[in-house]
Each structure stands twice: as structure tokens, then as C-alpha cells.
Symmetry: C2
């Protein structure tokens, strides 16, 4: 049962503490197992990867790499309506992310000085796609499309083979739609290690992104620095701020859409209306029985769900800023008024007709978002996640002459006389 | 003695492997000590910080915080020429970084849909500044100015007190010039932990940046996720590509300016001219005795320095791209031709009059750069390092109606029926 906290009721510190503890899933045993896998793949390459695939996936695919011809062959196994929905979603995602693209720039001065910043896509990016029930085609689009737009030269997807040694056809369709270049049927920490070091068949990449279980997440964390990674995603969360114009039927549905992800998912409603709070509880009871993942929803709402009646919208916003939710819905009469008040949130859904699943699948903004309060300092996955920048400086002899006194002064103050010498030899 | 590898000489794999091993300074003992400090500061706040300050710095400052009035009082202890050089450098750094600033943006459609990306500065940022001989005013400018331009509301600097319990006046001058808001005299892992959790006197921040010893670096790494951090910096490096028009006197000076940082620093020259290679060795011998840090330079060049004669500039560029150096100088007749060929480098210095110290101190681009080959995927510190983004979505009822079939299809394909339900209740 979701908890309902009425005005003046006790809510806060303890619940937030509990929310923050959701994350601590990894443990010494997982850490050790993963670091052993990483070391073996580093030394053993393909052989080690094959051994682990047999051990963990129970089947060895006929071939590790799926050619693009073979990928196209899987399309006939997908529902046509799914394929067209996927393609429309991809268009929206491309449109939104294209607007994020930064350009290289430079600046010149009259004295011939030229300086700037060159921006390019990373050379190679690896995308991890989980298998089984956690195989989400939408996630392939959200990870691969920004990389493509950033100008990444090669996008390499890894995904574990099914029990029959075959890939999931919907995932293949998403990979084709998103412009993934190569696909390898390998999963787990061994796939992450293979991408980080490269093997005889799997290319070494510069960055690894995508969701995965605790072994995959731990491998990414351990390999951070050898490659770049996206953020370590925690359990999903929604926070809804609702005034008296919100619709309890919608609110209940949206809380549950988040709760169905995972028993660790969190769904919180903050509202200024006690009536709406109570009606939302009633709507949850009414809608839940018809949902296929009702057991997960019930458990998640029971532990990490809450409906809180607030004194004012200001109080609700302040609480939300403190929690820094991954997803924030603002169901209010004038939702735009709140954009400027929201300090910390991954993605903000405004008004009664912008439910969170619209953003998960379709609207265009990325659904890979900072969780567990990290929206305070992390940002949604974006084109910027797949670029590298270099600065460049060109000075003329006369421009260096004008600057030399200052540079020598600063270098000598810092006691770095060889730095000063490099200016002095040019006088 | 710097090694000289002539055409066809053996050079490569072993040297690169050795370069990559320079980093592994941290060890289990440091890790354990640091995690104990972090835990004690988290639980004990100011008391724990004070205990560690006494223990590690040997002196407790009269007061932990330096007011801006007190900061100004230190200016009289600085050389006037240093202050004016610092202020001119700050202007150049501001000018360059202002050009990096991204704007919030949004897009609207005819059907009333509105989507966009809001970009703001982080609320609070902590800057670590080492004490003693590693107290570099230039580093204060390079870390604080981009944060200021990003719109960070409060920049908090921590730096260990000197043996007399007082701060370094030059560092105070740099903090004032860069716009640092508050300064606390505390250093080490305890300062990093205090910034991450907040204490009674030191504010909790969203991100911690700045260089530090192995304890500071390990604390930042361990607290990553609780706060954001900048990259973990490894030992410094320069790679110079020189054709037959380069000046051996300059090349020698530039190699040594990098080598003086640290016995682990690396300095490599790749040149197409055997004559230039030999003359550079001679110039090193000639210039080194006059440099105050000659022992460090000699040790660093001996282990991690090399002059390699290449078959062609293409070979040199390919080698540089593989090494992905922090600093890359291109001393060639037409240096601009190389910008487009350089795949991986933190900062690129073009021509004979753009020595690396120009970038360290004065030109404007940041001197906090990716080391140890991580320029493959990391970028220089920039205004982007101090922002957070949120996406926002506003859909109208009719726009959601047009999208509903696709969203429901995608959600149901993924087995997430509560996601589909959140659309269905709005029909």
C-alpha cells in the first residue's frame, strides 16, 4: 500500500534516507567476481569471452558477430506496427538531439593569434543492451542516436544471446533504425571487458554506455579511466507535483508506470490537495489489478512510494529540488511557470498530457537520466556525451613578445623556471 | 639522459607500456586510510576535520574561514608585477571560456508542443588547491573562472594552511581575481570529504575539482557519485612533432618545461630530421645546468623522455594519435595543416611561437587537460564541466492523441503495460 501523508504529517528525513539506500546493491563478492572476469578477458581475449558466454548464457551463438544482412533478416519477425512506431520515435529522437550539437569554433585577433576549440565525435563507442525481459529497443535508440549525431565513427553493440543462441529481433530492428554499425552476441561483464580492451574479434572502444545488471554496472565502474562510461544508473524514480487542477486518474497511472520498472523504483506524488491525494490512492487501487506487473508495482509502491499533501506548491518544489528526481511531472494549471523554479531534475514533464512514458519512448529527449539525486550535478545522456574537445593555440612571434613578461613572471612566481626558460629562449 | 631513437631504431610498445604504468600510484594502504578519513568526517564533521588538520598539517589556523576582507589584506604581500600579470591572464582565460557557454534552448511546434533543454550552472562547486610548493595560482584561475562563467552560485576553495597557520598570499590573490566566494584553510582527504558531505562550517558542494596529492585524488575518486568530480589527473606529458623547420633550442626548452613538473612527467619529441634530433639533445645538455629543477628534469627525461626520428610527419601524427598526449606541440612550416589530422590531444600548440607554458599561464584555453591517453575520450576542463542540463517536454492533449498509438505499441512490445496504461487513461 502506498503511504499517504496528510498535511502536517511526519514525512521526510527517514524516507529520503531510505530512498538513498536503494542503491547499494553491489558488494565485495560481485566486485571480486567482476575483477577476475576483466583480468581474464584482458589476458585471454576471445577465448575467455567464449568460456564466460558458455558459462553464463548457457549457449554459444553460431557466430559472435551479426552482419547487417543478418540483422535485416530478423525484421520479418517483428510486428509491422512496432517497426513503424520505432521509426517515428527515432525521427523525434534525432530531431531533438540534432539541436544539441556543438560546433568547433575559433577566434582570431589582429595580431595573428588564433585560438579555438575543436569538437569531434569519439572514434568508437560500445553500447550494452541487456538480454531477456530487460531487452528494451527504446534504450537502443536512446543510446545510439546521440552517438551517431555526435559523429561517432563506429557504434558497436553487444547483447547476450538468447537460450537458442539467437538475438532478440526487436533489438536488431532498433539497432538498424538507430544506425548501429556492428553487433556482437556477447553479454555480461565479459562483454564490457572485451569492449574496453578489444579482443581478436571485438573492437576496443573509447566509451561504453547502456544499462545492465549489477555485473555489467560493476564492470563499467571498474573500467572507468581505461574507457569512458556513462553514469552508473540507479533504480528509476518519478516525482509528481500536482495542484488542485490535476487528474487523480492520470496521477495514479503515472506513479504506477514508474513503479512497474523494478521493486526498487520510487514513485512520489506531492500535492496541495488532500482530495486529489485521496482520489489518487483510490485510482491506484482501481487500476492496479488490470496491470500485468502488478506484483512489482505493489511492492515498489509499498516501500518507495508516497503521496504527500503539501502546504503549498512552493513547499512541493523545494522538496523536489532537494530530492533531485530523475523524472519530474508538473501537473498544474500553469506548468510553464515552474520551469524556472526547478533546480534539479533529469527530465521535466509539464502539464496533464505529458506523461512520463511519452518521454521514455517518443517525444525526443533522452530517457537515460541521472538517478538517486545526482541530477544535482549530472545531466541527461546527450550528444555532448559522445564528443571530445581539444583546444588549440597559435601565437605569432610578436604576440608572444607582448606576452612574454607576464608569462615569465607567473612561471617564476610558481618556481617553474624551465617554464620561464621556454619563453626566454624565444626572445 | 634522454633516449635518442634514430630511423628504424626500436621504439614503441615497451616505452608506451612503461608510460601507461606511470599512473598506478594509489595502493590498498592509501585507499584504506582515505576511506577511514571520509567516514570520520561524514560522522564527525568539523571536529574530525580539525583533528586531521592538526595531525597532517601540524598547525590549526586561528580561524578556518578567510573572509574576503582578510583575503584582500594578503595582496600587499604579493609582488605588483605578479598581480598585474595574474589579472591579464585572468582576462584571457575569461575571454576564451566565455565563448564556450551554451544557452538553454527550446523548440515549439504548430500543434503546441514545446520541448527543450535547460542549462544552468551547478549550485556550489568546491576547488581544491594544494599547499606548499605545489600551490599554483594559475591553477586557481583555470578551475574557478570556467565555474564562474558557467553561473555557479558559490565557489568554495579549500587549501591547507601553511606551517604558520596562514594561507599562501599568491593563492589568495588568485582566488580574489578569479571570483572565488569563500575560502577555507583545510586540506587533504579531510577537505574533500568535508566538501562532499558538508560540515557545520564548510558547505556541501555538487562538484569538487582541482589537483592534489594521492590522498586528495583517492578521496575524490571514492566520493564520485556523492558529488561529481573532474578527471583524476595523472602525471603531465608533452609530445612535440617537429619537421626540419623547427628550432632545436626551442624544442629542448619545451621538453624540459614539461619534465620539470615531476619525475613522472613525460616529454617526447618526434621529428623527421635526424639533425634536429641530435641538436635538441645537445641543447638539452646546454640549457639544463641553468635550470633550478634540473634534478627532476634529468630523472624525468631519463625514464620518460624520448627523441624519435620518424620516416614522415604522417608517421609522427599517427604515433601521437595513438598516445593521445595531454599537450601536443606542432612545430612545422604549416602547422595549421595538422589540426584536422590530430584525433586525440588535450591542447594543441601550433608553430614555433606557441610554447606550452603560454597555454599553462596566459593564452586563455584551460590547462586542466586529460592525461595518460585519456584524450581519446576526455576533454579539457571547460564551462561545460560546471553545468547541469534538464530536458523538458510539454505536449498538448491533441499532440498526445496523435502519438498515443505509437507509444502504446512500443510500451507493450517491451512488456511494460503500466507505461501503456498511462497513455490509455488519457484517451
Amino acid at each position: 500500500m502506498i503511504q499517504l501523508v496528510k498535511k502536517g504529517g511526519s514525512f521526510g528525513r527517514d524516507f529520503i534516507r531510505q530512498l538513498k539506500l536503494r542503491n547499494e546493491e553491489s558488494n565485495r563478492q560481485v566486485e571480486t567476481a567482476v575483477s577476475e572476469i576483466i583480468e581474464n578477458v584482458r589476458l585471454g581475449g576471445d577465448t575467455a569471452v567464449r568460456d564466460y558466454t558458455l558459462k553464463f548464457d548457457g549457449a554459444l551463438p553460431d557466430q559472435t558477430e551479426i552482419s547487417s544482412g543478418e540483422m535485416k533478416g530478423f525484421l520479418s519477425q517483428c510486428e509491422p506496427d512496432f517497426l513503424s512506431a520505432l521509426s517515428r520515435a527515432a525521427e523525434n529522437i534525432k530531431d531533438f538531439h540534432s539541436r544539441q550539437k556543438q560546433q568547433s569554433w575559433f577566434n582570431t585577433d589582429e595580431d595573428g593569434v588564433m585560438m579555438g576549440q575543436r569538437i569531434r565525435g569519439l572514434s568508437k563507442v560500445g553500447i550494452y543492451v541487456p538480454g531477456g525481459t530487460a531487452a528494451y529497443p527504446s534504450s537502443v535508440l536512446m543510446n545510439a542516436i546521440p552517438a551517431k549525431i555526435a559523429g561517432v565513427q563506429e557504434i558497436i553493440m553487444v547483447t547476450p544471446p538468447g537460450k537458442d543462441g539467437k538475438p532478440n529481433p526487436d533489438i536488431m530492428a532498433a539497432a538498424l533504425t538507430a544506425g548501429v554499425d556492428r553487433v556482437f552476441l556477447v553479454g555480461g561483464a565479459q562483454a564490457v571487458a572485451a569492449l574496453a580492451f578489444g579482443t581478436e574479434t571485438i573492437p576496443k572502444v573509447d566509451k561504453i554506455v547502456g544499462p545492465g545488471n549489477i555485473y555489467v554496472a560493476t564492470a563499467k565502474k571498474q573500467l572507468y579511466g581505461t574507457v569512458d562510461i556513462d553514469m552508473i544508473a540507479g533504480p528509476s524514480e518519478i516525482l509528481i507535483i500536482a495542484d488542485e487542477t490535476a487528474k487523480p486518474e492520470f496521477l495514479a497511472a503515472d506513479l504506477m508506470s514508474q513503479a512497474e520498472h523494478d521493486v526498487l523504483a520510487s514513485a512520489i506524488l506531492l500535492t496541495t490537495s488532500e482530495e486529489i491525494a485521496e482520489q489518487t490512492v483510490a485510482q491506484i487501487d482501481r487500476q492496479m489489478p488490470g496491470l500485468s506487473r502488478k506484483e512489482i508495482i505493489a511492492r515498489s509502491l509499498d516501500r518507495f512510494g508516497a503521496i504527500v499533501v503539501c502546504e503549498s506548491m512552493e513547499e512541493a518544489v523545494a522538496f523536489s529540488n532537494e530530492l533531485a528526481p530523475e523524472h519530474l511531472e508538473v501537473c498544474a494549471a500553469n506548468p510553464m511557470e515552474y520551469i524556472g523554479k526547478i533546480d534539479n531534475a533529469g527530465s521535466v514533464f509539464l502539464g496533464n498530457y505529458s506523461p512520463e512514458p511519452l518521454g521514455d519512448y517518443f517525444a525526443g529527449p533522452n530517457h537515460v537520466l541521472p538517478t538517486s539525486g545526482t541530477a544535482r550535478f549530472f545531466s541527461p545522456l546527450s550528444v555532448d556525451s559522445f564528443i571530445k574537445k581539444s583546444s588549440f593555440i597559435y601565437y605569432t612571434e610578436s604576440a608572444l613578445k607582448s606576452a612574454q613578461k607576464d608569462i615569465i613572471q607567473l612561471a617564476e612566481t610558481e618556481g617553474l623556471t624551465a617554464h620561464a626558460n621556454s619563453i626566454k629562449v624565444r626572445r
